[in-house]
Subunit: 271 residues, 2 copies
């Protein structure tokens, strides 16, 4: 039987843990893969554990019991969080991002895996100690961010559609009023998409008054499910009275200044 | 200045490499972080390199020159690929997945991060030696898979919309005919979303005749960009003559059998 050095085992175990956030991996997976005693693997994991804590890179938790093992719980140092949020502020203040109607063009950011991976990690870290069964979003721009949060929390992603699709079976549709310009919109979700009694968090790219989030709360009621948290990349702090409380955001937007530049600041949430 | 053991450095460097697929990381990042000589870090990386090759977990490449460094290139062993594809086949053959209209319900699979991460890795590994500037998909079901492929290749994701959005500035829209039921559909992409001269791969959940892929080729022409590859999770091999050649898929679907069960097999692409 092949033997592996401690260094080799540590590299391979680290890779497996990092690739499977919030998933409990039984130690026997590693004892079999490396033909090593449980005590040896435990020592390897202790090294990884100490490294992550020391470097502020998240943590490794031990889960006791028959279905027990170890899992990687995502995390990021305050320094790295601040760095990403500051970089995002600089990017969002770029003058040529303002498009007709005084919107900020941010599609390139929402679809940039390097940025979205880190932003998703920051948002996920806010919910990592809650019981979360799934991450909900409304198509389209927030999907990569919501997917990253779901991946980091090791749970299912649920995407609410704006139309009905023949390929999704029976759907439940609700109408809701957008908080900012009072338009009536529809959102739909397949009956098969969400188990009754799920604890959900809602992730989106941008929040104004929170009409969409309110719609999500009502839609979740149709599935006997609860909203236990809201996370957005940017929130518009100028928008009229917020319809939902208790949310986290990375960045605050408060309109355009006299030079037609977006007024953008880091949120207080991760300060 | 703090000192770190080889074990600690290997755990931390592995994490950083795995979290940044296909991104060149300069060795100075690590020499500064660990207060270590370049030769020491090179030895650490050699251990990680050998581990990944030995365990069939992808590879670490050294990039020479001033902007050089090391990068993790994703990969998966044939055994793990076969395992995922076989599991997917079993799931897709479940009888209660057939919904009215003889569609297979597969939304839960497309939005399951554990499955999509591995499926994305398999598809990305097919394009990892090509020059790819971005990954293109059409909303909505294929977005998480396309995002994973983009993340693994370290490139931008581009999402083509079925409607125009006021928040995306000037858009280019084209009409295309679906290959299977000859309906006319529209797809739109913001002018800002794609640089001229980009090499793109198209990723989607399901391919029938390939009408959507043909539409993408025409849309890319409007941006003076090229399609250099197509990857889908499932392809319908019963569909009439394929409109596009040269694609990879994980799974082949050939209709329902006399028991109304989906006829599903692993594709030849990754066999």
């Amino acid at each position: 039987m092949e033997k592996f050095s401690r260094n080799t085992r540590i590299a391979a175990i680290t890779k497996t843990l990092i690739e499977n956030p919030n998933k409990v991996i039984n130690l026997s997976t590693f004892t079999e893969e490396f033909n090593a005693a449980k005590s040896t693997i435990s020592e390897d994991i202790l090294v990884i554990k100490e490294t992550l804590v020391r470097q502020n890179m998240g943590r490794v938790e031990t889960v006791a019991g028959a279905a027990g093992g170890v899992k990687y719980v995502c995390g990021m140092s305050k320094k790295d969080k601040d760095k990403l949020i500051d970089e995002l502020c600089t990017i969002l203040r770029e003058k040529d991002r303002i498009i007709p109607g005084n919107f900020i063009y941010m599609t390139d950011i929402m679809y940039n895996p390097e940025i979205i991976r880190k932003a998703g990690l920051i948002l996920a870290s806010a919910f990592v100690d809650k019981t979360v069964d799934c991450v909900v979003t409304v198509e389209t721009k927030g999907i990569p961010l919501a997917y990253e949060v779901a991946r980091m929390l090791g749970v299912q992603l649920v995407i609410v559609r704006r139309d009905n699709k023949v390929t999704e079976g029976t759907t439940v549709s609700i109408n809701y009023v957008t908080g900012s310009n009072k338009r009536i919109q529809t959102m739909s979700l397949s009956r098969k998409a969400l188990k009754s009694g799920s604890n959900c968090i809602f992730i989106d790219d941008f929040m104004k008054a929170g009409g969409t989030a309110l719609g999500i709360i009502n839609l979740l009621k149709e599935f006997d499910s609860n909203l236990v948290g809201i996370g957005v990349l940017i929130e518009d702090v100028e928008a009229s009275k917020k319809l939902v409380e208790d949310r986290v955001s990375l960045i605050e937007f408060s309109g355009l200044d006299e030079n037609e530049t977006a007024v953008i600041f880091p949120s207080k949430c991760f300060k």
